[in-house]
Amino acid sequence: MCLGVPGKVLSISEDGLSAQVDFFGVRRELRLDIVDEPVQPGDYVLNHVGFAIRRIPPGEVQETLALFDQILKEAAAGDLMAEDVRGEMAAGKEGGRG
């Protein structure tokens, strides 16, 4: 539960309170109440329990993505890290369209 998961911002809601975010092909709506900096489409954010908690500096995105990409691809059933990552992805609101 202390592993945030990075995703790419696709769009921001009109009221600016939430964003559509892509997590390795899964689209979720995240709340923006507590993100540290303003975000725009194309930015990457770290998601924790359905909230963006950090805008990832652009130069450091690839490094941050690599671990999660690998874990999701290779994980055997029951792998704890992969389950935590998937749990974080499930924390976003489903079915939103931006």
Binding site: M1, I34, D36, H48, V49, F51, I56, E74, L80
Partner: protein, 377 residues
């Protein structure tokens, strides 16, 4: 799986080798055994166990998991409160790890089996949605997690919640996890690895008073195998130099001051209060509870919670043999427990450390029972 995890572990094989060699040199230069350092994050233990990092650590180095699992240190009476609220008819929403956490005689999973309304959620927002959809019910969010998770609870409260929503807070405060261990006379932890993503919120500056006061250096680490290895090298170097400093080895996610907007929200809603941590001690600044101005949303104020009705008068003989407290204090390893992998398993946990995906016992059990490969053979 083995080949691909090796691929990750050695994505930069040269760097991995250089770090392993540097670590061996640093530990040898200290010249005693064991040198003990502690991390306080379930995700770090997952990374260490999953990628077999202990095999790369010198024999004289102990990297121990401390009380870094907020679910594991959630005390029995707190679970009893949630079970009692479910028994009293409230709809109790909680993160999945909390479901099997044992109370005095029942867990929330037991309460659910008894017909109680218990919902597993991934985000506190889902609990608020449920409260909106069911205005005739009382919806209680049984909140767990460190500051990183508590900021989300604070955010929904500040954004406004329906009248039938309340919070039973079992949020914990990160610095307390290190304080409690450093104050135990039996332990001799010489340095700490702090959790990268929690520090995203708090900033690494929060650890400076601790390092100055205790003389133990703190290194903030990420979760890649190489991130962890690099952080351990830096930490052991600071131990050797006797420099009680804080070093940030995870700058891509962590700044000194942390996430200010989030911290402002956190401290508008929560106070640091004392609380009992399961199996460990009374921790003077261990818990986060709602400030008095939020009493109307505090389940402990809104309801008369009758824990006596769900408390077991009967002794739990198995639980008395559980050594979770010693494991979280760094005094014992999961494999030292006689119940580990026998009576105590993920599907039938006796102790809290076997419940959560961040508990040391569950992590060791899932990744092969004895992930310290130096002790096999």
């Amino acid at each position: 799986m083995a080949s691909s995890s090796e691929e990750l572990k050695f994505r930069d094989p040269g760097k991995a080798r250089a770090l392993t060699e540097a670590l061996a040199r640093e530990v040898e230069a200290i010249g005693r055994s064991p040198v003990s350092v502690m991390h306080v994050c379930g995700s770090h233990e997952q990374a260490i166990a999953r990628f077999g990092l202990r095999a790369a650590f010198p024999r004289a180095l102990d990297v121990i998991m401390g009380p870094g699992c907020p679910v594991c240190v959630t005390d029995t009476p707190e679970v009893d409160e949630a079970v009692a609220l479910a028994a009293q008819g409230a709809r109790v929403c909680t993160y999945g790890d909390m479901l099997r956490l044992p109370g005095t005689s029942k867990s929330l999973a037991d309460a659910q089996a008894d017909g109680g309304k218990v919902e597993v959620i991934y985000s506190v927002s889902q609990a608020v949605e449920l409260a909106k959809q069911r205005p005739a019910e009382q919806v209680v969010f049984f909140a767990s997690g460190f500051e990183t998770t508590a900021v989300a609870t604070a955010a929904v409260i500040l954004a406004g919640v329906p009248e039938n929503f309340s919070v039973l807070s079992s949020h914990k405060y990160v610095p307390a996890a290190m304080d409690v261990v450093s104050e135990m006379e039996e332990t001799n932890i010489e340095g700490f690895i702090a959790a990268g993503h929690a520090a995203t919120i708090t900033g690494w500056g929060i650890f400076e008073p601790f390092a100055r006061r205790t003389g133990a250096p703190v290194v903030v680490a990420g979760f890649e195998p190489l991130d962890v290895l690099a952080a351990v090298v830096e930490l052991v170097r600071l131990v050797r130099l006797k420099r009680p400093e804080v070093m940030n080895c995870y700058p891509r996610c962590v700044s000194k001051e942390g996430n200010r907007p989030a911290l402002e929200k956190l401290w508008k809603v929560f106070d640091v209060v004392g609380g009992n941590w399961r199996g460990i001690a009374r921790v003077p600044r261990g818990n986060l509870d709602l400030k008095p101005e939020w009493d109307h949303l505090n389940a402990r104020r809104r309801f008369r919670i009758d824990t006596a009705a769900v408390g077991g008068a009967e002794r739990n003989v198995l639980a008395e043999r559980c050594i979770c407290g010693s494991i979280m204090s760094g005094l014992a390893k999961p494999s030292d427990c006689k119940l580990f992998g026998k009576e105590c398993r993920p599907e039938t946990p006796v102790g809290a450390c076997m419940v959560s995906s961040e508990g040391a016992c569950k992590i060791w059990h899932v990744y092969g029972g004895q992930p310290d490969l130096r002790e096999v053979a």
